[in-house]
Structures are given as structure tokens and as C-alpha cells.
Symmetry: C3
């Protein structure tokens, strides 16, 4: 798709400076952009960083730049936006619309007679949709995807090839599920006995809100008796594990390889960074941030807005003060040794 700089400015809500008739064919990074492509820069962490970004944009072949107010850049058509990254994301979505995962229902797709497909649903080759599943309007189900019995999907979902939705999962609108993700497998519930473990059958389900994105090869288990719930707007990266009966609040972010054990409650706008872990029955209130590889012990509650670091996790300011000492433990031992020597000398 193609537009003019002026049309793009209008679409993304930017103020244009320069040649509005410039033809824009797509978005790119400054390093790889061609003349007809638009790039963006945003404020760096300091003036020097911002200047470096501006210089890269200036040197770029791109003739059109989305940038924040106040930044100067000669010889380009400028699109001023308060949030250039957001404006650029809109430009990307407009100029590079995601290609369809599936168009129509492929002849090899197996759709149970009792399954209901709304208008405009696409189902790829070899996809399997079981009895009484419901797929909302315009949703696309990729090749080899599996939608179990009675699963329900809202409108405009993108289920990439080879995603698995077990029986009975409930998925909102505009949900993206990447390849290899498994939603609704049994939670890890067993009862220890003298003769080993007896399975605690997992008869619950999974409820995923609108606008959730689920990364490749991520696993979200069904509840034991009730639901595992992921609220709307939650973004989950690849290879994440979410255990049974977990509740994740709106607009929370879960980065790659993080794990949330069973029965945890995670609030709204929480950020779990990469490789973090919550043991069972934890509570993270709204806005908590867990630094990479940090872990929260079983049953622990952390109050709203705290930033945590370490395993076991502590508030970041405290953790930093501890780490500062930790990094000089050998020197601390030397200081104690000197004090001991001085005391011994005095005593003798």
C-alpha cells in the first residue's frame, strides 16, 4: 500500500513540515530505508543519544521522518508526533497490514458439523476444529491449528499455524496466538500417595480476554476446577508458562520464559520480565515490576507499584544496596581481618 506524506500525517495524527506530496511506500529503520520509506526517531535517554538517533535519520535515504517536537532535521519531510514510536506503529499497521493467515476454509480443513464459523472466518490447510467450537467473525485459523471441542473464539483473532487450543477454552476478540502455543492443557495437579502420584483431573477451563497476544510455544494451563484467566490487553511473549488457576490482570506484560505457578494472582499493568518466576499462590498487586530472572517465593504478596529484584525478590532499592555490598564481600572480609589483627595485637 502507498500514500503521500500528507495522508500519512493525517492517518497517524502528526503535524507535517515539508513536502506533503512525497510518496510513501512503507516503513523502515534508518539503516535500511529506501527513499520512499518513512523512518522514526524518538528522544534518547539523554541529549547525546537523541543527537545520535537524529544523525542516523539524517544520513538515512528515507525522505520522511516521524519525530518528536523540538528535534531538528534538515532536508526531510517531517511528521511531528508527541509519541513518535506510537505514530510509527500506526504507520506500520497501515502501510504493512498483516497478511492473512487463512483465506476461506481450506478444502483439507476438518471442521466438525456442530462447529459454528461466523462470517469471514479463514481456516488453513489441515486445521482441525472440533465439535461445538465457535469461531467469531473474521478470525483466522492457521494451518495445522487445533481448536478443541467447545472452544470459543471472538472476532478477528489470529491463530497462527500449529497453535493448539484445547477443548473448552474461551478466547476474546482480536487475540493473537502464535505458532506452537498450547492453551488449555491440564494443570499440573497430582496427589502424593505412598504408591506415587495420583492425577487430580483438571476439569477447569481457560478464559482469555480481548486483545491478548500469546507468544510462540507458550503454555497456559486450564484451571483445576475453575478458570485460568488472562484479562484483556495482556501481552505474553514466547515460552512462557502459566499454571492452573492463575489470574492475570489487564494490560500486564509477561516476557519470554517467565513462569507463573498455579493459583497466583497478578494485577493490572504488572511487568514480568524475562525468565522471572512466581511460585504458587503468590499475589502481585497492580503495577509491580519484576526484574529479569527474579523469583517470588510461594504464597508471597507484593504491594502495588513495587519494583523487585533477585531470587528471592526484594524491593529494588534495598536489593541494590545489598548487591553493592555483595560485590565487595572479599574486601569486607579483609576489613574484618584487619580489625581482628589490630585487636589481637592490642590484647597481646
Amino acid at each position: 500500500m502507498e500514500c503521500t506524506a500528507k495522508e500519512l500525517a493525517e492517518y497517524i495524527g502528526a503535524k507535517i513540515e515539508g513536502d506533503g506530496s512525497l510518496k510513501i511506500s512503507g516503513c523502515a529503520s534508518p539503516a535500511s530505508a529506501k527513499a520512499g520509506e518513512v523512518v522514526f526517531i524518538e528522544a534518547g535517554r539523554n541529549a547525546e543519544a537523541t543527537a545520535k538517533l537524529a544523525e542516523a535519520a539524517a544520513k538515512s535515504a528515507a525522505r520522511c521522518v516521524i519525530l518528536p517536537p523540538g528535534t531538528e532535521l534538515a532536508g526531510k519531510t517531517l511528521l511531528r508526533a508527541a509519541n513518535p514510536r506510537l505514530a510509527f506503529a500506526k504507520a506500520l499497521a497501515w502501510l504493512h497490514p498483516a497478511s492473512r493467515i487463512a483465506q476461506g476454509v481450506h478444502a483439507t480443513a476438518i471442521v466438525a458439523r456442530s462447529a459454528r464459523l461466523a462470517e469471514g472466518v479463514g481456516v488453513g490447510p489441515y486445521a482441525v476444529i472440533e465439535e461445538e467450537a465457535e469461531i467469531g467473525e473474521g478470525s483466522q485459523i492457521g494451518a495445522h491449528a487445533f481448536v478443541g471441542r467447545g472452544a470459543r473464539l471472538g472476532a478477528d483473532c489470529r491463530i497462527y499455524p500449529r497453535a493448539t487450543l484445547y477443548a473448552g477454552v474461551r478466547i476474546g476478540a482480536r487475540v493473537v496466538v502464535h505458532s506452537g502455543a498450547v492453551v488449555g492443557a491440564d494443570g499440573f495437579g497430582f496427589v502424593p500417595t505412598d504408591d506415587g502420584y495420583v492425577k487430580f483431573p483438571q476439569i477447569g477451563f481457560v478464559e482469555i480476554g480481548d486483545d491478548v497476544e500469546i507468544g510462540a510455544n507458550t503454555t497456559i494451563d486450564r484451571g483445576a476446577l475453575d478458570a485460568t484467566r488472562i484479562a484483556r490487553g495482556v501481552k505474553i511473549d514466547n515460552l512462557v508458562q502459566i499454571g492452573h488457576n492463575v489470574e492475570v490482570g489487564e494490560h500486564t506484560v509477561v516476557a519470554a520464559q517467565a513462569g507463573i505457578a498455579g493459583s497466583c494472582t497478578v494485577g493490572r499493568k504488572v511487568i514480568l520480565t524475562g525468565q522471572t518466576g512466581l511460585s504458587g499462590h503468590c499475589t502481585l498487586e497492580d503495577g509491580v515490576i519484576l526484574a529479569p530472572q527474579s523469583g517470588v517465593p510461594e504464597g508471597k504478596t507484593w504491594h502495588a507499584g513495587v519494583v523487585l529484584f533477585g531470587s528471592p525478590a526484594r524491593p529494588l532499592d534495598k536489593a541494590k544496596r545489598i548487591l553493592a555490598v555483595y560485590g565487595h564481600l572479599p574486601e569486607l572480609v579483609d576489613r574484618v581481618r584487619k580489625l581482628e589483627q589490630a585487636a589481637a595485637e592490642k590484647a597481646s
Copy 2:
């Protein structure tokens, strides 16, 4: 399926108090139970916790409660069991039998002519079963599942849609493999040379005992020359990695995202909690427990029954004493500083 409270009591081995003719239609949690459903409570970690659980059950719409001896609950039909969780698990399995993954051999399943399917085997749509594979009586192979050449499965296995069993893996009876799990991929074996790495071909196999459960997207590599062995009764959660030539003993539990590197030996009834890791060639004797995110360094052996914490892991009691000091390192530095000041004052 439906029964009376009396029939249920008999089936799960509980002592009934109250109306034995009560119709029971299923199991549920106290929060979501309907009148005809049975719930359970068990002893909490203290009297207060137990009372809270009992209260939830009392308020529940459920008219039938499985509970331990000694707990009182008015107005319900009571099913007394020494281990209420176990009794409830039995009730779940009886009243909510797992639905079949595959019924008969689907017309689109590709089963090699030399593969042998015992009686009652189900194979889902688009499943592929290669030459000389053997599937035991009553086992169910889900849609898109792949069973490689010469793989052997025992009776009554549940292979969920889209699980992969590489050629030659040997699987016992009643084994559950969840969606996306990969059993028998090449171990990670390469020989470093000046020109990079040369693959050490992995010609071994995998042997999985009876009653093992393997979680979604878990990977268990084949041995380099011999076997990777998972003994009977082992329960493995999602996204777990088990390297080549590992041996895992009976009734061991491996929680989500744990990893066991090549050539480790893990004993019986070991518990590896979430995100734990064993480096190569470790030995954990029977009953070892590894706390979340803990790690055991290369080649280390830990003796039977020890509880370990940290990375590198230490016995829990020692680790706790260390952590207690660690949490107050800034204060420790202050104390040393004060001692130094006092010494300096004296010296001057």
C-alpha cells in the same frame, strides 16, 4: 455421569454422614459449585486456615462435602476421608471421565502399513504413524500427532494433538503426552574443532516408564548412544528440558521450565520445582528437593533427602542462615565501619 452420595462414598472409600440418596452430578470448587455437585476441604496449615476452608464449604451451594475426620460442617451430606484431596481426585476421575482424544482411526490419519495398532486404538485426523511403530491397546493418538518409525507405545496412552514422538522412542502404559511435547529429538552433542562444531550423531533412544505424564511443549532428548530414561510414575510439567542420557527415577516430579542437562542421574521421589536447573553429570539421590530457580553445578552429587536452595544450591538450613545475613549486608558494613572508626579514634 451421575450417582448418589452413597454410591460416591463407596467408590472413593469414604464414610458417609447424612443423606445418602442425594444425587451427585459432578465435582466443583466451593465458589462455583451448584447444589448437585460435591466439593472437598482438607486440613489447612493451621486451625484458622482450616476454619476458613470449612466456612467456604459451608457457604457453598454444594450439598455434599468430602472432608477429613474431625472437621464439623452443618447442613451438608458429609463424606469422611482420611485424605480428602485423594478422595476428591477419585471422585473427579469417576464423575468427569476424560473425554476421548480420538475414536477409531480417522480417515485422514496416515498409518504405515508396517505399523501395528492394537485393539481399541484411536488415531485422530492428520496424525502420522510411521513404519513399524507399535501402539498398545486402547491408546489414543491425537490430531496432528507424529509417531516416528519404530516407536513403541504401551496400552491406554493419551497422546494429545500435536505431540511428537521421534523414531524409536519406547513408551510405557498409561502415559500422557501433552500437546507440543517432543520426545526423542537429538541430544545436544557437538565436538568443537578449529572450524566450528561437528555434530556427534545421536543414535540413542528414549525410554519412558508406565504412568508418566509429560507436559505441553516439554522436550526429552534421545540418548547419544544409549537411552534417556524416565522411570514409571514420573510427572513432568510444561516446558521442561531433559537432556540426553539423563536417568530420572520413579515418582519424581519435575515442575515447569526446569531443565536437566545431559548425563544427570536423578533418583526416586525427587522434586525439581519450577525453573530449577541441573548442569551436566549431576547426581541427585532419592528424595532430594530443589527449591524454585535453584541450580546444581556440573558434576555435583547431592545425598538422599536433602532440601536445596540457591544457585549454586546449598542445603536449605544453611542457605537460609546465609540469606538472613545477606538481607542485612548494608547494616553489616555499617557495623564494620563503626568498629573501624572506634579503632581509628583509639589509635589517634
Copy 3:
């Protein structure tokens, strides 16, 4: 396949001592070898370990042993090699050639009319190859594998059943992709706003060099605007996460469950061991080694050749000195307490 000891010696470049006419039917470990199989031993970490390995080989039924110069072993045909493990790997590849993943194009494979398959390409049952994809000579695409629109694969690749290559990924020659791996899913890019996160469309691609191996259920995301690049010879284990815009240099090794967050630059011959993590925008120069479970904080650069340990990671020698003190923190507190008591007694 079968050969004589003499032929094998020639093929692997070893010097033979003993009966060159010995028939060799395969490779095995000393413990499980039959008479006609060849085993290998290499120098252990010390003389005792080497002697133990030699003893195992001596007791083995195998009549032919690959071993380093200097080691003595009576009653066997000996194949002397400077690098016995490398020589054995060559023997394995020769005597146990990997079986074909797919022979010819299966009738059920769906290959788009515009896709180009070079000579000798095998495509398994139910594999899907989309428009304009290109598959190089002799490459094998397993059952249920998915090759997206415009993806390009070099010659002699082995794409195991149920691997997913998203649209547009570019893969070199002799690349191995294990089951469940997902190459080219969207990077994790979202723009925070007051109303939640807005997706930053990921329009980049993935470039995988020659001779790369990608483990089961590993995920490698496409770049946001440009490429995620894995250079030739890189070996990646199972369940690894590689974020968008990451660059990994030649002959680097990434062990299981390691994670590399977005925009990291990893040099040549780096070793990321199991469960390690790099936060975003890190740089590891050539030859860096990251010990198990270690983590590198956001934006950090580590210079060539350093061995790192811990989370946050420190150079190993420093980390070890710190850990030595850490392990005795309770004793250190006791020493400080004694000094305080002595000072208090003096003061009183």
C-alpha cells in the same frame, strides 16, 4: 552399513593397530557394545579418570576401540586418533547415516504452485509450503512442517516434523530444525499507552546461516524492521528464546532454556550455557562464556573471552571470591559480633 576396521580407520583418519579385517557394524558405548561395534575413549580430566575409561573399554564386548595416542589397551583393534571424540563422531555419521525425514513429495503435502522445490527435495505428509517459498536441493521437510510464504531454505536442510518457519525467513544450507521450533514469529514489540499496549508490527525477517542447528521447541523471532541474524555454525539447543533484532556470531553455542532478549549482539564462539539470560541490548564479544543460570543486565557489554557467573553476571574469578565469602556469611557476622563485644568490654 558395514565396513572393516581398516576402512573405518582410513575414513576417520586414524592409525590402526591390530586386525584390520575386523568387521565393524556400528558404533556404541562401552557398556552396550556388541563384538562388531566400535567404541571410543578419550583422555579424562586426570590419569585416574582416563584409566577408568580405558578399563570400561577393555571390559567392553567391542573388539575395536578409537583412542588417543599413548593409551594402552590389550586385546583390541585400536584406532589411534588425536581427537578420538571427533573421530568417533565421523564414524557415527558414516556407519549410522541419519535416516531420511521425507522421501519425495508426499501426496498429502500442500505445496503452493509458486513455491520452488529444487531437485531431491523431500516433503512429508501434511506438510504445507506456501507461495513463493524456495527449498534447496536435497532438503527434507518433515510431516506437518510449515514453510511460510516466501521463506527460502538452502540445500540439504533437515526440517523435522512439525517445525514452523514463518513467512519470509531465510535459511542457509545444511540447517537442522527440530520438531516444534518456531522461526520467525513476531518479536515482542508493543508501545505502552494510557489505554494499554499498541502492537508495533514486526515486519522484519530472520536470517539463519549455514550449518546451524535449532533445537526442539526453540523460538527465534523475526526482527521488528530488519533482521534477526544467526550466523553460520551456531548450535542452539531446545526451548531457547531469541528475541527480535538479535545478532548471534559464528560458531556460538546456546544451551537449553537460554534466552537472548531483543537487540542483543552476541559474538563468535560465545557459549551461553543452560538457563542463562541476556536482557535487551546487551553485547557479548567473541568467546565470552556465561555460566549456567547467569544473567546479563540490560545494555551491558562484556569484553572478549571473559567467563561470567551469576545474576547479575561477574567475571568468574571475582564471582568465585565473592561466593567463597557468601558461603560463610554467618561466620563473618559472628566475627563482627565478637569484635563488637570486645570493643564494648573495653569501653565499659
